[in-house]
Amino acid sequence: MTQGLDQIFVTFQHWAVAHSPAAVQPAVSIVLPVAGILILFPSLFAITTVLERKGLARIQNRYGPNRVGPYGWLQPVADAVKSLTKEDIVPRTADKLVHFLAPVLLVTVVFLEYAVIPVGRNMVLADMNSGVLFFFAAGAATEMSVFMAGWSSRNKYSLLGAMRAVAQMISYEAPLILSSIAVVMAAGSLSTVTIVEKQAGYSGFWPHWYVLTPWGLAGFVLFAIAMTAESNRSPFDLPEGESEIIAGYFTEYSGFKFALFFLGEYLEMFAVSGMAVTLFLGGWAAPFSFLTWIPSWIWFLGKVMTLIAVFIWVRGTLPRLRMDQLMNFAWKFMLPMTLMVIFSAGLWKFLPSGVLRWLICAAPIALLYVVLGRVLQSERRIEKRVYRYAE
């Protein structure tokens, strides 16, 4: 029973392939999982928009959407109808082709990232030898799309937003990739499926996730911060910064193209959360050995949604960073910390297991954290603010 429920989608795929004509069997076996991804994550996006608006509203002491359908749950339907029927305005001086291509490229590239994320046991579209590398290579192309959107709009605010976005994404890509390198080192593989398998198994009822090691915990926190910045979420939402540059790179987008940007941003968030779950939180594995009867895909989606909930919480809590703070944080704090995480992961691999290994591996990270904190604080001079241009 539990086995059947766990593998229900895989069984369905096999059944559908077996019952289709021989000529189209390869196509069916590929198209079905793709269709699954195309249905699952956009619907998750629809649910998340409501959850986010309601959650933010609660944090800000108001009700949030509660008019459309019971408790406002049909809000995404209304939003979809609105964005589909709205006029699509393209500025006269805009570069029409690039303006059109930017949102399309963003959504396409983000969907590509899902190819290597194992959603459940035996549920991955492409078990590549170099899955993690593929994920980051696909993610690198989102920067292009953001730049295209900002440049083609012929709007100062769009261009400013695009430049901020590209600078931010390049800066945070380094800690993002470096913190995942620690996991790749520990697992000895770039394949996402192998990484999940290496974290399988339990000591007693306790799982072998990488987040439960000192370097894994630090790596996970750094990865989470970097992925918040990569997906342009608050407090790293400078590229959009509506109080500073209207809406940044998608200021000049309306109607469905705007919806595509919105979709792309959320899908990116799901994708990086899925990657974080795969790398540090054991992928689709259950957190305790006595909970393994719950299907693997429920665990995966549950973990992703938990990370999303944290994202929403952080967005409702923290104010936006300033550009220099953002850059200083990326290069002076995140980068040294991730390098130390890699060093600690190397130590972990060669030391015999025990409490001592825990302490030895945690010590350099904690030490660097304290030293960096002290040094960066002492650099900061708190004095009367001087305005250079606004006097």
Binding site: V98, N129, S130, A140, M144, F147, W151, V166, S189
Partner: protein, 164 residues
């Protein structure tokens, strides 16, 4: 000549031609990105996953972005006049380069013999080679790049001081 090869070749060559002929610099940069993606596709088609993905990561994700940034930060809206006074010299140089490459490919192809079957654990082999056999060159290259990076920052810093 398989269908994927033909498609990827068309994308690559089309991107390269567009990068040379388009008038707006940003368009050229985007076309160059298309060309790089086509090249990455060709590598993937040849089962060279690592090279293909690094091609996308480094060239599309970093080099083209760098070019675009350079264009934006030194923005001239007026199109530069393209004179092409050195057309003959250019043709000569490109002919020599092409001849050299063609000679190398045809001469080298004979020695390679039959194509070797793609090894399964190619990623692992590349990692092992980089970390064991070629670790010294790797470190030297890393050091060189870091030095270049610091040098660039130092030059930029001096300019800033003068501006004040």
């Amino acid at each position: 000549m398989t269908a994927p090869f033909v498609i990827l070749a068309v994308v690559t060559i089309g991107g390269a031609v567009a990068a040379m002929t388009l008038r707006k610099l940003v368009h050229c940069a985007l076309a160059l990105a298309v060309c790089f993606v086509g090249l990455a596709g060709l590598y993937l088609d040849l089962n060279a996953q690592f090279v293909g993905l690094v091609q996308v990561l480094v060239y599309v994700g970093a080099v083209v972005i760098l070019i675009v940034f350079a264009i934006l930060l030194t923005r001239h809206d007026e199109l530069p006049a393209q004179t092409n006074r050195t057309r003959v010299a250019g043709l000569g140089v490109s002919a020599v380069v092409f001849a050299l490459l063609a000679w190398a490919v045809t001469a080298g192809g004979a020695q390679m013999g039959a194509a070797v079957a793609a090894p399964e654990a190619a990623m692992k082999d590349i990692g092992g080679a980089l970390m064991q056999k070629y670790v010294l060159p790797l470190e030297v290259v890393g050091l060189l790049l870091t030095a270049a990076l610091i040098g660039a920052v130092v030059i930029a810093m001096e300019e800033k001081k003068k501006a004040r």
